[in-house]
Amino acid sequence: MTDLPQDKGVLLLFSSVTGAQRCRQRLEEQGMESLLVKLDRHIAGTSCDYCLRISAADSYKALETVKTFPHRPRSVYSDEETPQKIKWK
């Protein structure tokens, strides 16, 4: 269950860089691309988190897929000027 806006990409937040890299690796295995970024300036209070940036085209499928992963994102934000926290599970 998600309130993801249809035209927006998503930022998946992980507490560790390896967690983000593992998630990216698993998404790649399923044909989805993502970009590992550290977006300190975008989201207050997450200066130590790493994000996977996923395009709007893949965002819904990616959110459905990561629910099955052992290392899930800590939280999910919409990828826009002022990112909004998204309910995703």
Binding site: S16, V17, T18, G19, Q21, Q25, L36, S47, C48
Partner: protein, 346 residues
């Protein structure tokens, strides 16, 4: 110089290893996992690439690969993180000081099982007989650094699973040389990066079984959850406090890549070298060769009648051969370890 000390560290390394170390130092020397700038992110990618290659080689998951400074560091993490003072373990009779000293420091009691040459079943039975209701783990080398003999670690791991105890393996002489499936259940595998994995010195690996939850004994910056005073729960960051050896890990990645690509031919070549070495040394009058080329990694121990092992090693050194003088008594042999790259005709 003919380098015959590969049980201590492999040399020379494949070209890709030193070029990867150099590239990291020259081009993307950021601190991985600490910042979001390009060089830090690039360094993180190098670390993850090596982690993934190791996971592929050892049939485990990348997050179960913990980078350490060497096998000793990995063994200390495992022994001191999983055992408590007063615990009892069963060990092999051929453990290195990298096992014995941490066990002693951790005040762990041990019983040494027997190794029965060329009889794996008898060896396993000896370990089983040494297990008591108080036993918490089997701690065993995969291959002896002195005689080269290979322990039946898969069977010992099965025995541990059956008995509900931990299995800690010192894979210092086998990682990159013998097949290993690490990271299962309550098993931990410890190994150097700079021997059979062909990486640079200053690298090591601990593979933690997914059912383990060792205590940390090194805490510090991890780049994650920095507002908390406790280490993060996530693996591998939980066990990798402090800035990692990024150039070394990049070089290790190149070494593992080489092993993944050429491992089979390395093993075949080493088997030829091992048998030839045994045969040729045994043909020399007055030379005593210990062990057997069967069921062995490429380490050979020998001595010369009437000479102390240090004298043998010194004389060989003068002749341009680099060997190890092994400090065990009795008998104190000289150990030579053949190399992945040497042609059998040498």
């Amino acid at each position: 110089m003919i380098y015959l000390d590969n049980a201590a560290t492999s040399f020379p390394k494949p070209e890709g290893v030193w070029s990867a170390c150099g590239e990291t130092l020259r081009r993307w020397g950021g601190n991985p996992g600490r910042s979001g700038h390009l060089l830090a992110m690039r360094a993180s990618e190098e670390i993850f690439r090596t982690r993934s290659l190791l996971a592929s080689l050892f049939h485990t998951q990348p997050e179960q690969i913990i980078f350490t400074a060497n096998a000793t560091h990995a063994l200390n993490l495992a022994i001191k993180g999983l055992l408590h003072p007063g615990d009892h373990v069963v060990i092999s009779p051929m453990e290195h000081n990298s096992v014995m000293r941490p066990l002693t420091a951790a005040q762990v009691r041990w019983t040494a099982a027997d190794y029965v040459f060329e009889d794996d079943e008898a060896t396993v039975r000896s370990f089983e007989r040494a297990i008591t209701p108080e036993t918490k783990a089997i701690v065993c080398t995969h291959a002896s650094n002195v005689l080269g003999c290979i322990f039946p670690v898969e069977k010992l791991e099965d025995l541990c699973r059956e008995k509900g105890i931990l299995f800690l393996c010192d894979a210092s002489q086998s990682a990159g040389i013998l097949p290993i499936s690490g990271g299962r259940g309550h098993s931990a595998w410890c190994m150097p990066g700079h021997k059979g994995l062909l990486g640079p010195q200053g690298t090591g690996v601990l593979i933690l079984g997914e059912a383990l939850s060792p205590r940390t004994w090194i805490e510090g910056g991890s780049g994650t959850n920095s507002t908390e005073f406790l280490p993060p729960e996530e693996w591998p960051e939980r066990f990798e406090a402090g800035t990692p050896n990024t150039p070394g890990i990049a070089g290790l990645g190149a070494g593992v890549h080489y092993v993944l690509k050429h491992g089979e031919s390395i093993r075949k070549n080493e088997k030829i070298l091992l048998e030839k070495l045994h045969r040729c040394l045994r043909a020399i009058a007055g030379v005593h060769v210990y062990g057997s080329p069967c069921n062995s990694v490429c380490t050979v121990s020998f001595n010369v009648t009437g000479l102390f092992c240090g004298e043998v090693a010194s004389r060989l050194d003068e002749q341009g051969f680099a060997c190890a003088r092994v400090c065990i008594v009795p008998p104190p042999p000289t150990a030579i370890t053949e190399h992945w790259k040497r042609a059998p005709c040498e």
